[in-house]
Symmetry: C2
Subunit: 389 residues, 2 copies
Amino acid sequence: MKSCGIIVEYNPFHNGHQYHAKMARELSEAQVVIAVMSGNFLQRGEPAIIDKWTRAKEALSHGVDLVIELPFAYAVQSADYFAAGGIKLLQALQCDALCFGTDNQVEMNYEQFGSFVNEHQTEINHAYQEIKNNGMSYPQQMTEVFRKLYPNGTLDFSSPNHILGLSYAKENATYEKPMLLYPLKREQAGYHDTKIYQQFASATAIRKAVFSGELSQIKQVLPMRVMKDLEESPTVSWEAYWPLLKYKLLSSSLPELREIYQMKEGIEYRLQEAAKVSDSFQQFMEKAKTKRYTWTRLQRLATYILVNVKQYEIENVRQNSYIQVLGFTEQGQRFLKEKKKNLKLPLITKISKNVSTQLALDIRSNQLYQLGSDRILEQSFGRFPIRVS
Amino acid sequence: MKSCGIIVEYNPFHNGHQYHAKMARELSEAQVVIAVMSGNFLQRGEPAIIDKWTRAKEALSHGVDLVIELPFAYAVQSADYFAAGGIKLLQALQCDALCFGTDNQVEMNYEQFGSFVNEHQTEINHAYQEIKNNGMSYPQQMTEVFRKLYPNGTLDFSSPNHILGLSYAKENATYEKPMLLYPLKREQAGYHDTKIYQQFASATAIRKAVFSGELSQIKQVLPMRVMKDLEESPTVSWEAYWPLLKYKLLSSSLPELREIYQMKEGIEYRLQEAAKVSDSFQQFMEKAKTKRYTWTRLQRLATYILVNVKQYEIENVRQNSYIQVLGFTEQGQRFLKEKKKNLKLPLITKISKNVSTQLALDIRSNQLYQLGSDRILEQSFGRFPIRVS
């Protein structure tokens, strides 16, 4: 059965995502579309607006056949690690193709780029080390590195989606049997866009509308079912977790904070001081932000603090990955049956005592996600893959 | 200047406390009444209903001349350590007498009891070790121990206030110049009483009325000023901190929980499991309670968890105690001036960077206390002793 993977967050699911799933199927001529989706905490260090089970159900109702959870250890990471996790799971599922959105450069040869990076990793690292501390932003540095080394034209590192695309290509090329790559030009709404267009809007614009209570504005850019979920299900933002983050920062000693994953360079003191004088997450972030720490990097660190993540927990998951199924259509289930015996990672369809050590970080992050609203249901134990027919 | 100490919590201040201060002055013929008062967390492991500055101000308006804070490390402790802290501070202030409330046994010779315990500590410890694990409650065990050893009649360990009185006597007798002891029979309302009498009610009954919104019921048992504070100031109970305690228990690993002061015998796992399925502090306590852990002991442990207390922090304060002044009347200020040069512990009237390491546990517990309501004012930095004339 021919399959095409997509690596997603759905925060929340919208028409652009439906278009992505549809085009993935069309471009790759796949019989099954597999979404590897972040769980309840996302790449940019945020809680998902709606819980993972609801988002999985929405995806399965709008063109996706199988939803696999991207574990916390991969999901809440910068582009390279996020991509590595997504590709690893799709490769473990023996997926044939990968379709990813990009704001530009649909025409470039991603396979060629992937091979180039893997063949020239040493030079690239070297060039990057040389300019690492020159004060330029990460996108600027990367543009500079590849302008010198890459023979096939200029690369654009200004768009987060495009950076992800390049990371997918790079990671994919490390496998013995790389997936076919299908870049897809995003329709109208760019990643950073905050406006709402005719049928498409960025997830950022949609979240903004939800939290300002202007749901009517976004009716045309979401499937009806998602609209209903946003109206009726508990929706959360960082602000719901702010009292807990503040408590964690104020109650922990500096040595304790230093044990948290990615806590470096004395930032723990700055964060503690910022927490003391802040009454909201927004305020805290504005006070804590420095030139060195971008908003996203800081927000990811805030998530690690909230979830009390340790380095060894991330390493555990990297060394012992797994395929946790959140849901499937009949077609998705057929695909799983077909591949079952040849999967390269353990398949998890139910969280039992047996797997609770391996999945400890996911389980804990889910429990803490639940603290954002007393209406969020149990996320781990007793949950089974959602079936959509 | 002749002085009489009292060791108090004022949760909240009521007519019985005013009577206590008045009688302390009368019985001891003191010119100055010094209250050593728990800060924002109390002996039985609870947050104070009203913050310490407000309670100090109330006391100073109703018969107390000087309010000293009993540090967290002494306040949130079983009777013996609580008493040790209170006596230590009064001794450091060269206080002449101690007046304490008791529900009974006003007539017994407390000085004699204190000397007896200090002279027979080895036998007492031995007798206690022998029956330690026989399943009896602590009061029953103590009654048993002293029934065998004490020559001067039966001792009553059934009342918390009386146990405190015995602890004061025992501790006081260890000093070179013990204070004169004035036991005072409590008027009408016993420690465990929940009814409201004509003019006197226990603090327990008063808190119950406050949290059930029945303030009118307690009008006659409180000074008017306290009544006004209870109506207008932020009042908190454990429930306000429950989301934070739950978060702390769910986000910490078992080894991390084991680092907390007094976390013993594998109780950490039980507490974590109880937190997962509880929606309120009350529910959590009911689920976590065992025969081995009384409500009070468990509640104290909950406070240590909330405040993230470590063994070394308690020891630090025991080894480097201090006298933190919360407020005084003119008479109290005169007393401090008179004694200033001969104090046996450092006097702190302002929290500066210099003392913030020494007072770290108090400062942190105050910051966390503030999280119970956004109306609670800063408790440490920039606060000066309250003057009541």
